[in-house]
Symmetry: C2
Subunit: 453 residues, 2 copies
């Protein structure tokens, strides 16, 4: 046991605050706009959808926000999460670099999504909300939210993107086990869903559509609120506990990461691990590269356009300044359902535009190959989403070896793949198509945006 | 946070030795017999099947056996495992008792089976073995062994009981992901399998049949050995790390268990948590009750007969003194596939006969109800096997409340249910039949034993 394999924190070391990158951003994000007037909207416009405490967090400029005791009480059942050094993977690669991963799959939901689900359910309950609605892609977010809502005594209705609903039936059952109701999206329950089904009865759905449906239900009743699993500032805020822990753990390891990597859907798991390291760059002059890996089939960061767009398909959200492929873009049905989102969160978009973070896109087959290599060496079968982070880490290690240097690489293993087994089955059947969105297809997708600019 | 929710050990506190109950048993188990001569057999008879180090452990009378560094190196990636106090479950029950659970599902395999898989693969590799065969029921053992074999550079062929192979396809894919070959049992690869298929082409299979098939392949080649996931003394030895950790953790909690509970298939997860507490009873005069919970459809401990019987269906093993329903008994296809075994390990059998442990049987629907209650309150969705331990714990808490006392209850949550989702689907569809073996059916099963007594 010469090498450190595992770096733990004690319960007492679990961070007591979330970190708000807005306090340290050189260029603050542009304001959300009212779609009709194109005027900046204030936080009050979000009140029909979110509880006030989350709206405050959404726009807060405070650097640190206290984690409430009731949230810590549940966090402590699975946090602090471990960091592992991937010694066997390093050996298999023959790399000179050090590869560390933060493992967020060790909780009831199997992914990092519990971190914000618990916080969101708590704040909603505190403000008298009775029922919640939400969307889910692959189902990690939906299952995290299902237990969190049940724990705090809230009902939950989940709109699950149809392609995932059909290919990952286990996730639906898990949500049912936690007492949530799950509906495939697009559904006939909402005007937004019916409109999509009229155009395409076989629509695979998208996170954008599912968000529209969940919001439509929420705004009809004052005791029902909506909850989003990524993208928004307050969601990303809650995920920063990952990076705050990782900073403490890397300190214990005696190493400091040259690069921090996360997969990218709306931005929450990447931002969660990366933003505390970005603070170290901005405030303490450290120089860690922050790398997001997105699917080539949904490349908003690498091929999308930075512009105002809706966060959902039907255009119910305010206009947000973000990298986007167009809010009515429907990505190919890759197995990393959590990465099938047309846009990027406002904070990540601004930071990417300003050059503080990097982005690359990968094909799903190569990512699954990396996932299998990882599983055979490190034991844990990764969620399809997490395989993008793994593929990014493998690229970095190989690049360093070509350059003849040793780097310290840290990535976020955001979840396990025990509920995504069907995707691995397809991989072994050699039935995992690659999709790469061309520039022309991106142009076409953006041209479909149905509001005047 | 008034109550302790989680009790952890540091890496340094991970036990360095396994505990061998044979050293402390008042009545030593009867010897295994040669089926032909009915004479006691020596350890050398096992040499075609197992490596020498494991055979030595099988018959050792040493109280403690050192855990090799190579095994510790992998243990440390997921051990020490946490103990949780089920505060939310306690609240839901309104019980005065304290309920603790040791969670063994937090590793790559999702269950306690990793503890012996790693040890067995290590010893086989060390003695020059190239290939392994094994059986698996629900697949927890098979997946644990798949990664362990790959880690130590061994090939693995897994015979998976057909009813589980068909109902839990995810487990097969997970084993494939770790590079193992998986065959449904009974298969046409072996004489044992072909014989069963001739009698019943639709045979659901059983652990006993799968063991016969795996042994038949192993004995044909000196570089291929067989590996068993429960029942045997050395397997139970490796699992005692669970109870050794639990002892240290309960000490930290300030409580000491009045009762320790595990579900029962062949005996390894129950014995793993219970035997160190039994040592405390035997050596230090403590008085913890040790309770196993088995399925009513496979009630060898509560309705079976203590006698010499084969460990496998085809009669390839030595005759072992155990509680059994007859080695050719095929249990009903309940979802807790890991509990579908006709016999009980020799150590547990002797200890039950001598009154040191207790056994009860439960129906699967009640166990799943307990599993759902547990998941909604504690978050973790339990493996179907583990729901039997939960149901046992719920019984104990309710009984204590009726008696007006508060007891400390500890059970082994042996695995998570993320790969057993189809069983929960059946539960929600109200399609989970109960089976209770009657005394007459037990008589009939025992009458089918095909060797003279």
């Amino acid at each position: 046991m010469e090498k450190i394999r595992k770096i733990l924190l004690s319960d007492e070391e679990m961070p007591r605050q979330w970190y708000n990158i807005q306090a340290d951003m050189p260029n603050k994000p542009l304001p959300p706009l009212n779609p009709a007037t194109r005027e900046p909207i204030g936080p009050e416009a979000l009140a029909p959808v979110f509880p006030m405490e989350l709206i405050k967090q959404e726009v807060s400029q405070e650097r640190y926000i206290e984690i409430p005791d009731e949230v810590r009480d549940l966090y402590i059942t699975y946090r602090p999460s471990p960091i592992f050094r991937a010694v066997n993977l390093e050996k298999a690669l023959g790399t000179k670099s050090k590869i560390y991963y933060k493992y967020e799959g060790g909780n009831y939901s199997g992914s990092h999504k519990a971190n914000t689900a618990i916080a969101q359910a708590y704040y909603n309950k505190k403000e008298g909300v009775l029922r919640m609605t939400t969307e889910t892609g692959a189902g990690q977010w939906g299952s995290a939210m299902s237990f969190a809502c049940h724990h705090f005594g809230l009902e939950l209705l989940v709109f699950m993107v149809r392609v995932s609903y059909d290919s990952k039936p286990g996730r639906k059952i898990l949500m049912n086990a936690y007492n949530a109701k799950v509906v495939p999206s697009p559904s006939t329950m909402t005007a937004a869903g019916r409109q999509i089904l009229e155009m395409d009865p076989d629509s695979p759905g998208s996170l954008g559509i599912a968000i529209s449906e969940a919001m439509e239900i929420a705004v009809q009743d004052p005791y029902t609120k909506y909850s989003l699993g990524s993208v928004l500032n307050h969601v990303i805020l809650h995920q920063t506990i990952i990076g705050e822990e990782a900073l403490l753990q890397m300190e214990k390891s005696g190493d400091y990461p040259d690069v921090v990597i996360g997969c990218f859907g709306g931005g929450s798991n990447f931002s969660g691990i990366a933003f505390p390291f970005l603070r170290e760059n901005l405030v303490n002059g450290r120089k860690t590269r922050l790398l997001t890996v997105e699917p080539s089939s949904c490349p908003k960061l690498t091929k999308g356009k930075f512009m105002y767009d809706f966060g959902d398909s039907a255009g119910m959200t305010p206009l947000l300044p973000m990298y986007t492929l167009g809010h009515n873009f429907i990505p190919a049905g890759i197995h990393a359902g959590g990465l099938r989102y047309h846009g990027a969160g406002v904070l990540v978009s601004q930071l990417l535009k300003d050059g503080f973070i990097e982005a690359k896109a990968k094909m799903q087959r190569e990512c699954f190959e990396g996932g299998i290599l990882f599983a055979r060496n490190e034991g844990i079968l990764p969620a399809p989403e997490s395989t993008y982070a793994i593929a990014g880490a493998l690229d970095e290690a190989r690049k360093a070896d070509i350059e003849g240097v040793s780097r310290t690489i840290l990535f976020n293993l955001s979840g396990h793949g025990h509920l995504d087994i069907s995707a691995y089955e397809k991989y072994f059947e050699n039935n995992l198509p690659d999709h790469e969105l061309t520039e022309a297809e991106v142009e076409q997708a953006l041209s479909k945006i149905d509001f005047p600019d």
